[in-house]
Amino acid sequence: MSAALLEVQGLSHRFRLKDGRAVRAVDGVDLAVGAGEILGIVGESGCGKSTLGKTLIGVLGADDGTVRFEGAPIQNLDGTALRAVRSRLQYVYQDAGAALDPRWTIGRSLDEALVIHTALPRAERDARVRETLAAVGLHGDQLSLYPHEISGGQQRRVGLARVLALHPKLLILDEPTSGLDVSVQATILKLLVALWKQYGLTLLFISHDLAVVRSICTRVAVMYLGRIVETGPTAGIFTNPRHPYTKSLLAAVPLPGGRRVIDEAWLEGEPPDPLDIPSGCRFRNRCPMAQPLCATDDPTLRPLAPGHNAACHFA
């Protein structure tokens, strides 16, 4: 792996509720993203994927831990320093339609990114907007439309164009294809790979869809209840998963034309309440391999193969 562009250590974010309790949405995440990678973050709904992404870019504060971007710590920056980082580190929202101001035209929203981060004159900004618009496959005449006047797939393209215009280094994409039909999903994925090459990007690809992650990512991190429980090269994770959670997750994915999930073993129970994370290993009360040790000792990520780590005592 090339030198890490983003290095995360022990990162935590807690949502404090009105009654004083705290949701440990991100709870000690360790992660390294090398330049030029597409790193997939997979996990079930509510495991903290979006919270992790937002904590990385500083929209949410870090309660613990460090985030280093291009070698410099960026957690809990504010004001100008944070804005300077943001031109190179950007986040694309899960709900693309809701992430655009409903009262602004597409063109104005796209221009805004450049107004904020560059001192370019209007004509040059226009040129850059049109160039990125073409790169994401939209037409110039769509610039005068409002977000509700374009389709869901087009809204996602606009969301991408808005941050691409800044020529960022690292893009965090939050569920860029969820809710789209497979045919549209295929179009967006193709586009992402093309943009990745064209702009020399590094991508953090957040998704709950394992099949999509497998098709596009170079490396994968599996998240469960606010923690990364396994990371490794895509092929390693999918052909030789080591953590029991990863195994059950993979076993639950339907494979059209292949084996039938409903005929095979599958994961019992539902993820615990993030307000009440089990002691020891957080997966232990759903884990088919759990031993007494798992209730007392919290496993940390340990290397099992080159570049392949899992947080399980018995992996």
């Binding site: 709950h208 394992l210 099949a211 999509v212 339907p254 059209p256 599958w266």
Partner: protein
């Protein structure tokens, strides 16, 4: 296999501000006794519209059935009086599982109250009791029947693997997780001992591990009880898991119908083969389908897929292709795998 339900050449329009939406354009589909049929297609292709038409709950006056027939056990559901459907068929012989169980459970009543209320009106025992002289709302719930129904409910909650059924009855919908709510709704669909269940994307809102649990449960229960099911989904993987047969729709038209293994092994319609190719692959990025889904207000003439179809010829743009093939039905002038087709 004997046919339980047969939809023939159904045409349904919606009247919208921007014009007439031709949502179903001559759709035909049959469901055998005990068969699970998957209705597969992309968003907006008319799956829910078909489900609503069968249930007799198309919005009035926004929609209009222009032509067709829905045969179910000797009746044509399209000509039967709506009061008759409500009394004899909907909720008794045909039940419904919605996508979002939160919308179908009343947030103000406990699970137990809602399930007993359902049994009061729709249990097989209520059917046996016949009509009372009283207006329905005023009729009493005989306590003997109530006790029997309660026992049946607890049994069913056990069957759908709700832990502690007694406790679950006392809970309000929001106190249960999405997966648990979906189990309750499945139990409610099974309790009247229907002949047909219409399930409209029942697992779309769930995580893969929960989805696997629910699919397994649903499959086991309908097979054990020999209930037929129409299962709509936009997810080919889900259809593969649970369906005996798959019917694919594109922009308001049915394009292909085949037993699940045959369908996935060798799709015959150009659209469905493209759709399968757009599934994520293990080796690199999938192929997309060029072009966009047409507007249903001004849909293409003939085969609605022709503007995006590699094989399209002039005849495709004029009249809709007829049905061909035996067990593997396809509506296409140039089906794949046919000797007359253009080489793929």
């Amino acid at each position: 296999m004997t046919e339980l339900l047969a939809v023939r050449d159904l045409i349904v329009n919606y009247h919208s501000e921007r014009g007439i939406v031709r949502a179903l354009d001559g759709v035909s589909l049959a469901i055998g006794k005990g068969e699970v049929v998957g209705l597969v297609g992309e968003s907006g292709c008319g799956k829910s519209t078909l489900a609503r038409a069968i249930l007799g709950v198309l919005p009035v006056p926004a929609s209009e059935v222009r032509a067709g027939a829905i045969a179910f056990g000797g009746d044509n559901l399209l000509t039967l009086a709506s009061a008759e459907i409500a009394r004899r068929i909907r909720g008794r012989r045909i039940t419904f599982i919605p996508q979002d169980p939160y919308g179908s459970l009343n947030p103000l009543f406990t699970i137990g109250q809602q399930m007993l209320d359902l049994m009061h009106w729709k249990s097989p025992r209520a059917a046996a009791a016949g009509r009372s002289a009283w207006p329905a709302v005023l009729s009493r719930y005989p306590s003997a029947r109530r006790a029997q129904d309660r026992a049946a409910i607890l049994d069913m909650l056990g069957a759908v693997q709700i832990p502690n059924p007694e406790q679950a009855l006392a809970k309000l919908p929001h106190e249960l997780s999405g997966g648990q709510r979906q189990r309750i709704v499945i139990a409610m669909a099974l309790l009247p001992q229907p002949e047909l269940i219409i399930a409209d994307e029942p697992t779309t809102a769930l995580d893969v591990t929960i989805q696997a649990q629910i699919l397994r449960l649903l499959h086991r229960e309908v097979k054990r009880r020999q209930v037929s099911m129409l299962f709509t989904t936009h997810d080919l993987g889900t259809a593969w898991e649970i369906c005996d047969r798959v019917v694919v729709m594109y922009a308001g038209q049915d394009v292909e119908a085949a037993p699940t293994p045959a369908f996935f092994a060798a799709p015959r319609h150009p659209y469905t083969s493209k759709l399968l190719e757009s599934l994520p692959r293990t080796d690199g990025v999938a192929q997309d389908i060029p072009g966009e889904i047409p507007s249903l207000i001004a849909p293409p003439q003939g085969c609605r897929f022709h503007p995006r179809c590699y094989f399209a010829t002039t005849e495709c743009t004029i009249t809709r292709p007829p049905v061909s093939g035996g067990a593997h039905v396809v509506r296409c002038y140039h089906p794949l795998g046919a000797s007359t087709g253009v080489a793929a």
